[in-house]
Symmetry: C2
Subunit: 429 residues, 2 copies
């Protein structure tokens, strides 16, 4: 098929006509699908059901430190939970605090603590006229929601092929003392699937922040979430690098079992320097007596160590990969020759990032909704929900059944083509 | 035995001599006991072990609203968890948000949210020159730690026999717009065991706060924690009363299963007005995708409803009551005639509140420590850790075995007598 840019007005009109018919047919078919959020499918959840049998009424509830996990205590987590999380997060147990069921909650609490009490004795952000965060875009809407909630000015940093635009990151971080943080998903980034290159990670570790309380919010949410375990990506360990370069306290690193075991009912962790651990613990001990240790023990008893976690993640991949392949196949088949869109083909994570021609993302997502398919809102992947070019759409293939996904993505390509054809025709007027 | 006040110098000297010998004998006996915190004993934890069998790999994980509890969703909690918690908290499910494993965490988050974002659109407390909280004393150290952490000025309100000194509460709340909250444990109060009278609760509901963002922090931690189920106390339901008196939004009420099922691994809840629920949810949705719903389901499947909870709590009481009786017996036997101390004899909760002669609490707790028994730090029951009269000591009988408790309380009476005799002798010089 011809590129749209090479089509005559008549050809485009014909294209539009037949697409309109297709769209209407879809619209009348009564879809009720949701490919908006990166949530695991039921088949993935079934993988962890064995975890529900390891702790029963006759089980042993003692932690290796003698703590009865059914009682109060162990504020920062069980030693064996720290050991497991440390392995998965590529660090040491003494660098880890285990929290409740969500790493998002840890990030919120850290920003909130910095706002109310500052970072390691620095001025609380609520006492400053201006606080800025760098936001790699497109990125994760829930990150941006936290900083927006605290009135923090968000500065967009473009995502390049090998990670954020580090020239820009260095310019801001090293010169502007109001820049207090940056949101990063360094591996299989949400939504682009980008894996930060070794050089990019190295440049992060070599930052020389103007603000003493600057922290990299390193949300390694998809660290072991490869789609093909024969082609894994590994990135340099940021805590180690920062320590080597003399800034051990510059990173908060986050990990979670939410997409390993059960979403929202798992365990999550912060990995950071001993000084940050002490700073965070001083606040944490006011907030809680300790988080759910029985659930920590349950995870340890089931997952044992990082090798078992990897084996488990390969089972997730076996379910996820065919869905991602299906999406790629349809996008290539329907859009590959037309020169009207580009999209990511990630090796891990939960998303495909899709770019329409400028000005069409909102329209396409609206058309999908009108035909019964909910996608992530256009703009959600940018600070304040505003995509300046209105191009980016996040596709989340994980939850839908293969046949639902097939329908949704086919419809999606029709919407993209129709919206583009209409636009080109308008532009000709 | 004679009252100490009626003893001659010689009699007191003799008393001191024999007490010193007793103390030294205890000191040499190598005790390592801890009666510092109100934590359940192993026997109490065993009561809930059946809860670990209700959710296994073959169980049904669907909530009554169709939510797969293993996946993301249900931000404010499962409907059946709200229903259970509402029954236990004497309110309606629509007034309830289920949180993670600790009500302390809810309280911290509410104070933090009020500090950063205000209450229902009012000025955030971080923008105010002065914020005050009323603290009923003696009270719960972890409450006071939260307000101290946020630089909130704490004003002590004496606990009377039927609850806080309401004349003083009304004076402050109704006239001082910098008073934004009051910490209350209305039933079997920590540590005095006080049950607020109907009149006191009614006066709370009739408060006319000078500050629109004033909230009563009603920590009903021991609502169903009676020591004798043939002699329960019931107090008027504060949300209902506040609504009747035209101030539905004036109360945050807290409940927790931490001393019902497993401490630190249970579920906790906020009960409040629909307007407060909306205000809190707006912040909560930035902080998390939702809390551990599997644990909510586990609690509902095991506890079913408030009747079963009450039956379960009677089993706790059967374990706890003999310990509290033992404490009373020893205190009466060893101190009853001496006129040197007073203490509470609670009908519920986890503590006995003990008052020495002025100026002796720190000394007694220090002597206990030197003999190998850890008690709650003297002063902990007051804001800033300062008991102005240095009299109050909190005794926590729940965790120790009966024989350890017997030893600890016997030693305690020796310490109290010895410290008092020494003081009286000093005063005679």
């Amino acid at each position: 098929m011809k590129k749209y840019s090479e089509m005559t007005r008549e050809e485009l009109l014909a294209e539009k006509q037949q697409l309109k018919k297709q769209y209407e047919a879809y619209q009348n078919s009564g879809f009720h699908l949701n490919i908006s959020r990166g949530i695991p499918s039921e088949a993935q959840l079934e993988l962890s059901m064995g975890m529900m049998d390891v702790l029963h009424s006759e089980a042993d509830y003692l932690s290796e430190n003698g703590q009865d996990t059914r009682n109060y205590g162990s504020l920062t987590g069980l030693p064996e939970a720290k050991a497991l999380m440390a392995e998965v997060m590529e660090t040491r147990p003494e660098n880890v605090i285990i929290f409740c069921d969500s790493s998002l909650n840890i990030m919120y609490d850290l920003v909130s603590k910095s706002y109310t009490h500052g970072v390691m004795g620095s001025t609380p952000w609520c006492r400053l006229d201006k606080v800025k965060f760098l936001c790699v875009v497109p990125g994760y809407d829930r990150h941006f929601a936290i900083t927006e909630h605290f009135g923090i000015e968000m500065v967009s940093i473009p995502m390049l092929a090998d990670g954020p635009d580090m020239d820009l990151v260095e310019k801001y971080v090293n010169n502007d003392s109001s820049v207090k943080g940056i949101w990063c998903v360094p591996k299989y980034s949400n939504p682009t699937g980008t894996v930060y290159s070794d050089e990019v990670v190295e440049r992060f570790a070599r930052l020389t922040p103007a603000a003493e309380d600057f922290r990299i919010y390193w949300d390694n949410a998809y660290n072991v979430h490869h789609l093909d375990f024969n082609h894994m990506h590994v990135i340099p360990e940021i805590l180690t690098l920062c320590k080597e370069h003399g800034r051990p306290d510059m990173v908060y690193k986050f990990g979670s079992f939410s997409k390993i075991s059960f979403s929202g009912s798992s365990i999550a962790a912060l990995a950071t320097s001993p000084a940050n651990i002490a700073d965070v613990t001083a606040q944490m001990k006011i907030q809680t007596i300790g988080h759910n240790k029985i659930n920590q023990l349950r995870h340890v008893r089931f997952f044992k160590n990082a090798q078992y976690v990897m084996m488990h993640m390969a089972k997730h991949a076996a379910i996820l990969k065919p869905k991602f392949d299906l999406v790629q196949m349809i996008l290539h088949r329907e859009l590959g020759d037309l020169g009207i869109a580009e999209w990511s083909d990630p090796d891990g994570g939960y998303f495909v990032s899709f770019n329409t021609q400028p000005g069409l993302a909102k329209k396409v997502v609206g058309m999908m909704k009108d035909a019964g398919v909910v996608m992530t809102g256009a703009g959600a992947t940018f600070p304040y929900g505003i995509d300046p070019e209105d191009r980016n759409i996040r596709i989340a293939p994980s939850y839908a059944t293969p046949s639902d996904l097939d329908s949704a993505i086919n419809l999606f390509t029709v919407c993209v083509r129709l919206a583009t054809a209409e636009k080109l025709l308008e532009d000709m007027n």
